[in-house]
Amino acid sequence: MIRYENIEVTFGDFVAIPQLNLEVAEGEFFTLLGPSGCGKTTALRTLAGFIEPSRGDIHVDGRVVTRLRSDQRRVGMVFQNYALFPSMNVWENIAFGLKVRKENKTERERLVREIARRVDLSEEQLEKNLAELSGGQQQRVAIARALVLQPKILLLDEPLSNLDAKLRHQLRGQLKELQSEFGITTVYVTHDQDEALTMSDRIAVFNKGRIEQVGTPQEIYDSSASEFVCTFIGEASPLTPEFIVALDPATCGLDTRRSSYLRLEKVALLTPGVQMAPGYRAVEGIVESASYHGLHTIFTITAHGARVQVLFKEDGQERPEVGERAVLALDPRHVLQYERDDAPVPGGHHPVAAQR
């Protein structure tokens, strides 16, 4: 459906994207994830036609669109701040593209009404000024405005970053729902890994203009292909070589020279008298701190120089106090290891380099 082929984007002397190759399948909800300045928005805007790449081509539906104007690519876009036209009311905003396209009036009326119904905007809201709408309603206007032109691709540039946390959570669901209802190929840009993990079919993690990993949310999380992906997605505690030694590396294929990480839900506190699962190893440490979250508590345990975070489910079991000794139980296969230069370990049985 969408293919970036050897795309290079430069701004003056600055190379924003050195070489990008990426494919997005029809109907997919595809997310470009990365910290700010990583090139994800540049990649999106190149697809939208606002940026002309210095090299390479962009294919949509098998057709090269690299030199086409934005509106000729049949992509709809929802901007970070929605970019609604403040001088027009809701109806006029949605109808703008149709008017530009010189649709006749009855057709315009019909299309605007239909899309408004589908994104759940009432007749009354259509006559309102934008300032009278809530953030969520504004977002729906922005989506309606993009979808009314029946694009083949919907581009979303951090559409939730502008909202407060609660609304953000709520709209995440609505956005995903809308996408699956319309079944439209969607490229979504965000720096919020939570958003990426919950909404996407697949994710491309960007760093410094390059893709670190492409995969399903689960692949990205469980088998982070690089140290960058590992630390950027989710929470992971860095482990010291001493800690690795304590795991008896020779028996489980771990290498003390590499950077090692452990996700906090992949390690448990060993309750005294409870049998450890097969293959697990026990490591002793001291409880350094505990932060209580109601549903769970996150303990920080110091062991062999590493400060290991542990997710502890508050299900009524006994919990250690700060300063007490505690025993960590973990499966060495869950330790993520990377070469110091960020490259995944060659030939290691984990982690899996998903789509490289």
Partner: protein
């Protein structure tokens, strides 16, 4: 904004102190002198006199001039907006080659105006002008005086009054979120659809503002009609000034001024209504800065480039000629024949030659600076209160502060003299006439409405939570004002300060009545040295003074704007909003 009861408002000591001073100032220098003048004028001896109405309505010339003034005001409001919008677009919106150079050409109106500007254009298009000469070569039958009348006046004033666009519309444009333009592009809109359907509508509040300012400029047109109007197109302001000077005809001046004043207020009210609901706050917390737009159609691109450079030449040539002509003698200037070998520094030597010649410059600089600082400084406090509290009292004050827009400066000066040439309880036991203070008061008074409008808009744009945060942290209102609000409105205040300063520098109308003999400002000296009947060198002197004024005003603008544009970061702070609506309308928004 919510309404605050008067009783709550006056509980604040800050409000109380500012309020008392403001009440005194408004009563003593805005209401009483002008009321006094109008009463004396229309009710001589306590009885109403309808003489002025009768005289004026039966005068064809007065009626025609009045009509011309209104015609000029209405058409100028349209044409200035067209040219103004165009020059702002080519310098700040479209991707035009040499936009920066173009900007400097268009910005020449910042530094000169009035009679010299009109004369400058006459050099180019008048009967002995360069362009006329060229045209005559092509069309021998052309009337050498083709550049006179309504068309000429309108043309010159259109180019002369785009300053507001350059200052205020540019800053509005800079605030347009670039994403909205991309959104429109994404939906298939072309360059001009985006411009007319998306960008210009967002600039509507500022366009209302520039419309009002252009309308006012047209209504008060003085020098351009005098120089270029010819017999068929004279306006009302010269007549007002003539009549204002003569004690027996002052009622005519007052009546005409009131007619213009009422039109001004009506215009403000109408625009306020139109503007209502049209103030577009940015919907988002994030907006991306505007990137210059390429004009995709090559033909349109060529046309826009062409027009931009033609305008550039139109703007620049009069200034260049004035500077060149300031080096030649009056004879050469008057006959319009120019050659390099006639240039000398003789004019500058004559004007600046003797020891005392710098004195008027200093007097004017000090007076203008003092007045500009006082009016901006004082109104910062006042505007703060007017924008924070909305009730009948603040509304009344806001209207009262607009009084100086209703009367011409000369009449305001007369009102002050009439009211304070004897001990008056309003100002203690002092007699103000003949002191150095009275001119300063007049300068402050005439600058109040303009300053008020700009500062108010600026306060309105300050994020209210800033202030609340400071208050929560225990800051006193004065401290909050000084450390939080003042820095936020400082860029606008500085811009207004500069504009006020520049416009007061060569004031004549008030100084002629109020200046202290030992401290005569520049305007009087210029007039004395440039009066055609008095001296053959008059014409050359005019040009020298104009060039010197250009230097000062150019320097002022540079200090306020120029240095800021050197670093993009600071430029972003210097955005001046213009506000137009009346208090009643704002109260509801």
């Amino acid at each position: 904004m919510s309404r605050t009861p008067v009783r709550t408002m006056v509980r604040s000591p800050f409000v109380l102190v500012v309020g008392v001073i403001l009440t005194w100032f408004v009563a003593a220098f805005l209401v009483w002198p002008n009321a006094n003048l109008l009463i004396e004028t229309f009710f001589p001896g306590g009885k109403f006199s309808g003489r002025a109405v009768e005289k004026l309505t039966s005068s064809d010339r007065a009626m025609k001039s009045l009509f011309n003034s209104f015609l000029l005001a209405v058409t100028l409001a349209i044409t200035t907006n067209i040219v103004g919008v165009f020059i702002v677009l080519v310098t700040k919106y479209f991707d035009i080659r040499g936009a920066r150079i173009l900007w400097f050409g268009y910005a020449t109106t910042f530094i000169y105006g009035g009679i010299v500007l009109a004369a400058g254009y006459k050099f180019v298009y008048g009967e002995s002008g360069i362009v006329t000469g060229a045209l005559l070569g092509v069309f021998p039958g052309l009337d050498p005086n083709w550049f006179t009348g309504y068309f000429a006046v309108l043309t010159v004033m259109t180019f002369a009054t785009t300053t507001n666009h350059m200052l205020f519309l540019s800053s509005s444009l800079a605030k347009v979120d670039h994403q909205t333009i991309e959104a429109a592009q994404n939906m298939g809109a072309g360059t001009f659809t985006i411009l007319f359907r998306v960008v210009l509508p967002m600039l509507r509040p500022m366009l209302f503002a520039t419309t009002i300012l252009s309308f006012l400029t047209g209504l008060g047109a003085l020098s351009a009609p005098q120089v270029l109007g010819g017999r068929d197109f004279q306006t009302i302001t010269p007549m007002i000034l003539t009549f204002a000077g003569s004690p027996t005809s002052r009622d005519l001046a007052a009546l005409l001024a009131v007619v213009l004043g009422v039109a001004t207020i009506l215009m403000l009210a109408i625009m306020g209504k139109l503007e209502k609901g049209g103030t577009y706050f940015s919907l988002s917390r994030v907006s991306t800065s505007l990137a210059r737009q390429k004009i995709t159609n090559p033909l349109a691109n060529a046309v826009v480039h062409g027009v931009a450079y033609v305008l550039f030449v139109i703007y620049l040539v009069p200034v260049v000629l004035i500077i060149l002509y300031s080096f030649v003698d009056s004879r050469t200037i008057q006959s319009g024949t120019f050659s390099i070998d006639k240039m000398s520094l003789a004019n500058y030597g004559r004007v600046l030659g003797h020891g005392a010649s710098l004195r008027p410059f200093l007097v004017s600089v000090v007076y203008s600076a003092a007045a500009a600082v006082i009016v901006v400084g004082g109104l910062l406090f006042v505007t703060r209160i007017l924008s924070k509290y909305r009730n009948w009292l603040t509304t009344v004050f806001e209207y009262l502060l607009h009084i100086p827009w209703i009367l011409p400066a000369a009449m305001i000066a007369l009102g002050l003299i009439m009211s304070y040439d004897h001990p008056n309880p309003l100002v203690g036991t002092f007699v103000l006439t003949g002191t150095t203070v009275i001119l300063l008061i007049a300068f402050v008074v005439v600058k109040i409405p303009f300053t008020l409008r700009l500062l108010k808009a600026s306060f309105a744009s300050v994020n209210a939570s800033l202030e609340e945060a400071a208050t929560l942290m225990g800051a006193s209102s004065l401290y909050t004002f000084r450390r939080i609000l003042f820095p936020a409105v400082l860029p606008v205040a500085a811009a207004v300060l500069a504009l006020n300063f520049n416009s007061l520098l060569d004031d004549y109308d008030t100084a002629v009545f109020l200046a202290h003999p030992l401290f005569q400002p520049l305007g009087l000296v210029i007039k004395a040295n440039t009066d055609g009947a008095a001296s053959l060198d008059a014409r050359a002197n005019t040009f020298v003074y104009t060039v010197l004024l250009m230097v000062i005003t150019g320097l002022t603008m540079y200090l306020v704007y120029g240095r800021a544009t050197a670093t993009g970061k600071r430029r972003a702070r210097l955005r001046v909003p213009v506000p137009v609506s009346l208090p009643a309308d704002e109260a509801t928004s």
